[in-house]
Symmetry: C2
């Protein structure tokens, strides 16, 4: 399958089968994340794989009660190290959120190729998640995702048209209500 | 080609052929970015495609004089809209840097599949780039990348081993000097 097909078919999956994930599939998903690019190749990330049912439920509760998260066989908690990332992205920010996002993106695309579903979870309380997993003070949680075989086929949510998000040579606004 | 092969083969390319990019290839690269996921599907991004030689040189100068950037046929400037992104990622940050990073990551993977090279440029002066391209005050520049056919085959820079970046059930430090 071509990468654009994988990208086109990926959806946020909110209903999972209980089937466990074979080791070789899990290895590929992890490898895709491991090989992601990062500022100065700093790789300022760590991923916690949670399979314990009770802990998955606690993570779901800390994610505004999105309990579907706990039904996936694995929940991945993606952490970043701000202090160990490139400190001068654009000369105004640390690169860690970019770096960890790329690793998650790789992981999700590989998961999609292997027939697995994922779902970016941004609506979580970092302050609740960190103590659950003994995450140190200087480590941030960027996002969570469930990982498992999909038990639904969500519709395409649509995207902005190409001419709204690409412009040439200079910045151009599109329409009146958009940047 | 499998996505993991594409991921494995991607390198930061710092030497480009002058060959221009066919329209159908460019379309695929743009489409890959367009279809990226984002918080609440907000798509808080815009991409400026720069082909003008003089402007490419100015962008390269604003990127700590990394002049190889100007030799690629296209330079892509990836912008984000913090105020229009999801405001409560982890309940502590805005999602725009994550969102734009995913779009760039998609773009780069599609470029790789089509034989094109890219290079995350994080070492740039946002304050210098924005006025060059008339980028509004409330719009951020997250990264730049040149885009073109590679004229070099860089070595693999290596990555941390799997057991250093993945842990199970709880956060675990690895070694003494790493998180």
């Amino acid at each position: 399958m071509k990468i654009l097909d994988i990208i086109r078919k990926r959806r946020s999956i909110r209903k999972y089968k209980s089937d466990s994930i074979p080791d070789d599939v899990m290895d590929r998903v992890m490898e895709a994340a491991r090989l992601a690019p990062s500022g100065k190749n700093g790789q300022p990330w760590k991923f916690i794989l949670v399979k314990d049912k009770e802990m998955k439920e606690k993570l779901a509760e800390a994610s505004r009660g999105q309990m579907f998260i706990a039904n996936a066989p694995v929940v991945i908690v993606a952490c970043g190290f701000p202090d160990k990332s490139y400190q001068r992205q654009g000369n105004y920010m640390k690169s860690w959120s970019i770096d960890v996002a790329c690793a998650i993106d790789h992981l999700m695309l590989q998961a999609q190729e292997d027939g697995l579903g994922t779902c970016w979870i941004g609506a979580f309380e970092e302050k609740e998640v960190k103590p659950l997993l003994n995450i140190p003070e200087d480590v941030k949680v960027l996002a969570l995702t469930p990982l498992g075989y999909p038990d639904e086929e969500p519709h395409d949510r649509g995207r902005k048209p190409t001419n709204e998000i690409f412009c040439y040579e200079k910045y151009e606004s599109f329409g009146s209500s958009l940047n």
